[in-house]
Point group: C2
Chain length 304, copies 2
C-alpha cells in the first residue's frame, strides 16, 4: 500500500482505447505530456466474447503503461475512454459499463463515436468504417446518428468479414457445381487447405476475424477481373455507397472512410462518394482520450 | 447385474434416430413387431453444440423406450441407426462416432442419407431437404452424392434459418433507411418486440433454429405479395430449383422434397421441378432403422 504512494504525485493520466473485432488499441497520455505510450492487444468485440473483450482492454492498457515506463498499478490512476464495437447493442453496453474495471474512471461509448471524434478533431462530421465489421455515424451538434453496426452475419455488408464470408459461400456453391468455379473459389480452397467438402468444416463457427482474413484474396482477384470476386466486391461497396449518400443527406460536414479496408475499398467506391471523402485528422484512440477528458470533466461538474 | 438378465429374452431391438437443427426423432421397433415406440427430443445438430446433440439422441431414445413400455436399461440391447445433420463435416463425424454411446451398436450416417433411404423404400432415389437447414442427396447403386448441407450461415440457402435470417437482414436495412420498409420488415420488428435498434441485440449469436422460427412470417407475407418477402423467397427457392435440376442430371429415379418447409416451399418451386417430385414412401426414422439393420448385418458378416 505504501508503495502505491509513489504514484500520488503523478499528473492526470488518460487512456483512449479502441476495441474491435480484430484488435484492441490503447493510447496513454498525461496532462503534462510527460508520459505517452501505446499498446495493442487481441480482439475486443463483446458480441463475439465478453471475457476476451475485457481481457484485451486490460492487456492493451497494461502494454500502454509499460510503453510509458509506468507500473501496472498505475492503472488505478487512469481515466479511461473506451470505444467498443458491439456496445450499440443495449445489453452489451450495460454489461461492459457495469464491469468492475481497474481504472480510476471508465467512460464507455462505441468505436464509431470515438472514430468520428478523432477523424474531425472533435468537430461535427461523419465516418464510415470498413474493417472486420462495417458501420457509419454522423455527429451534428453533439447528437449522433448510427447506421449499420449490426454485426456479422446480420449486417456488416462491405466489411472484411462479409467479403470473406461471401467468398466462402461462393466456394461452397462452386464445390456443389451450383455456382461458377473461378480463380477466387480455387484460391479460397487453397487457403483453407480443404477441398472441397472440408471448407465448411474449417469455417463453421469461426469468429468474424477469421472470415475477414479472406478479404485480401477477394481484393486481389477482383483486381485481376475475377467475375465472382468483382461481383462480391461490387455488392459490398454498393452498401457502403448507399450509406455514404444517406449520411450526407444529414449535412454533417466532413465524411471520412476509416478501418482496415480503407485503402483497398476506396478505389471501388462510386465517384460521387469518393469525391466527398476527407482524410481523418486524428486516430480513434485520440477521439477516445478526448471523450474521456470531456466526460470526466462533465461528471466532476455534476458532482461538484 | 442380475436384474439385466430379465432383458435377455428380448428380441432384437432397433432404433432409428433422425437428428436435426430443431428436433431429434427416435423410432423403436423389435424384430417380432411386439415393441414399437417413438420419442421426440430437442435439437441435435453437432455444428451448433456437441453436448446438446448427444443429450438429445439419448433423451429421444429413452422416450421411445418408455413409449414401448421398456425400461431405460434396455438401451444396451438396442442396435441404433443414427442420421445426423452436420456429420458430413469429417471432424464432427469422428467425434460422434467415437462417442461412448449407450447402445449395443451404433451406426452413424447423415440425416440426408436416412431420409433418402426412407423416402424411396431403400431403393435408388434422391431427396432435397428444406427444414432448419437445406441439402440434397442422390443415391445410385448404393453410392451417395451430396449437395449443400454446409450449415448456416455458410450455406443452407432456401432453408428456414436462411429465410428468417434474410428477413432480419432486410429489417435491419429498413431500420437504417438503407432498404425498403414493408409489412414484412414491420412484422419482424413486432415479432422480436424490438424496434428498430434492438433487432440485432435479440438475434446476435442465436442458433439456426431461432432464425427458422421467422420463416413462417416470410411465407405469410410473400403470399400477400410483400415485395421484400417475395424476393427473399424467390432467391431461396431458385437455389433449391438449381439443386433439383443438378440432382436430376444424375438420373437417380425418384426425387422427393422433405423437411419442415416442404408444403410451404412446394408451390414456389419452378414448374419443371415441381413436376418431377414424388411423395416420400417412409419417414427418415424408418430409413435409419433400415440402415441399422443392414450395417449391423454387414458388420456381423465381416466379424463372422
Amino acid at each position: 500500500m505504501t508503495q502505491a504512494n509513489i504514484l500520488d504525485p503523478l499528473p492526470s493520466l488518460y487512456i483512449g482505447i479502441d476495441g474491435g473485432g480484430s484488435k484492441c488499441k490503447a493510447k496513454l497520455v498525461s496532462d503534462d505530456a510527460k508520459f505517452v505510450g501505446v499498446g495493442i492487444s487481441g480482439r475486443a468485440n463483446p458480441v463475439h466474447g465478453m471475457e476476451t473483450t475485457l481481457e484485451s482492454i486490460v492487456d492493451s492498457a497494461h502494454k500502454a503503461l509499460a510503453d510509458a515506463d509506468l507500473p501496472r498499478r498505475a492503472l488505478r490512476n487512469v481515466i479511461a475512454g473506451i470505444g467498443l464495437a458491439g456496445v450499440n447493442l443495449p445489453s452489451l453496453f450495460e454489461q461492459v459499463n457495469n464491469w468492475p474495471h481497474p481504472f480510476k474512471e471508465m467512460h464507455l461509448t462505441t468505436d464509431l463515436h470515438i472514430a468520428c471524434l478523432g477523424a474531425h478533431a472533435w468537430q461535427d462530421g461523419s465516418v464510415i468504417i470498413s474493417g472486420t465489421g462495417s458501420c457509419g455515424i454522423s455527429m451534428i451538434d453533439g447528437k449522433t446518428k448510427m447506421y449499420g453496426a449490426h454485426g456479422f452475419p446480420l449486417g456488416d455488408q462491405g466489411s472484411g468479414a462479409w467479403l470473406g464470408w461471401k467468398a466462402i459461400v461462393a466456394a461452397l456453391l462452386a464445390s456443389d457445381d451450383l455456382g461458377p468455379a473461378t480463380v477466387l473459389t480455387d484460391r479460397i480452397c487453397d487457403y483453407l487447405g480443404a477441398r472441397p467438402r472440408g471448407i465448411a468444416d474449417a469455417m463453421a463457427n469461426q469468429p468474424p476475424k477469421e472470415f475477414a482474413k479472406l478479404a485480401s484474396i477477394v481484393f486481389t482477384e477482383a483486381k485481376s477481373g475475377d467475375a465472382v470476386a468483382v461481383s462480391i466486391l461490387e455488392e459490398g461497396v454498393s452498401y457502403l455507397d448507399s450509406m455514404a449518400r444517406k449520411i450526407l443527406t444529414d449535412n454533417p460536414g466532413r465524411l471520412s472512410l476509416l478501418g482496415g479496408l480503407r485503402s483497398e475499398i476506396t478505389p471501388w467506391l462510386a465517384e460521387d462518394v469518393k469525391n466527398t471523402l476527407s482524410d481523418p485528422i486524428h486516430a480513434p484512440e485520440d477521439g477516445a482520450i478526448h471523450f474521456a477528458k470531456t466526460e470526466s470533466a462533465n461528471a466532476n461538474k455534476k458532482a461538484g
